[in-house]
Symmetry: C2
Subunit: 138 residues, 2 copies
């Protein structure tokens, strides 16, 4: 069993956040020690890691709750589970594309900079251009 500090380190979350998740019932400790310390097992630790990732990509705490339910709710028909999971996967794939674009833009900028001390790092060209913005009222 991990105490909260160890669970935090192992999951990559701040201790405060782990405690917060326990308070709001997102990831509850398996038990409390005699002195009241929160104790986490491996499964709960996995959940914390999962939640950290999902939160980092814009899923709300409530959405994370739903995602965790996917793992646990044996009552729910698997058709519904699958539908929810596929929805989220779709969102994640969109996020991946957006992340690619962001990466591309910043790489472009970094390449355009020569990296010496002269202050002539050019403004990314696409910034000044008008191309491919959605036309309004055609």
């Amino acid at each position: 069993m991990y105490m909260i500090g160890d669970a935090a380190k192992a999951s990559g979350l701040p201790t405060k956040t782990v405690r917060y998740y326990a308070d709001v019932g997102l990831v509850k400790p398996d038990a409390r020690s005699q002195s009241g310390y929160r104790l986490y097992g491996h499964a709960e630790l996995k959940k914390l890691i999962f939640v950290r990732r999902a939160r980092a990509f814009g899923f709300s705490v409530d959405e994370c709750r739903e995602l965790l339910d996917l793992y646990e709710d044996r009552e729910r028909p698997s058709r519904e589970v699958k539908k929810l999971a596929l929805q989220r996967i779709g969102e994640i794939e969109m996020k991946m594309e957006e992340l690619q674009l962001l990466h591309h833009e910043l790489s472009h900028l970094a390449e355009a900079c020569r990296g010496d001390d002269r202050p002539d790092c050019p403004i990314l060209s696409s910034f000044a251009d008008d191309e491919e913005l959605p036309g309004l009222r055609p």
Copy 2:
């Protein structure tokens, strides 16, 4: 020139958020109409899109401000600009890996569901396993 509603639609941000960004000086409108309406040009629109992406991946508003400065601050030596850009690119590449992992986990779950009505969608096996968690106090 776009009015705020059009700028919002074109950038994919809520109107309220565009107004908020104007208030905090992150992306200011180029001008105001006679009646006080905010007016945005193409370059500002590009910035809004850029900020939407950066925010979606966990960069704070202040970090976005810094990223936008990369495009604009001609005073700053390009070495420093490049360093900052490369740092951010490194972070983005880490985010990409995490996003891959999240995608993988959810895909795994979705595949494990047969997708019919029977409530036997299995719990992701890795969830119960102990494998590859960091050992503490060795």
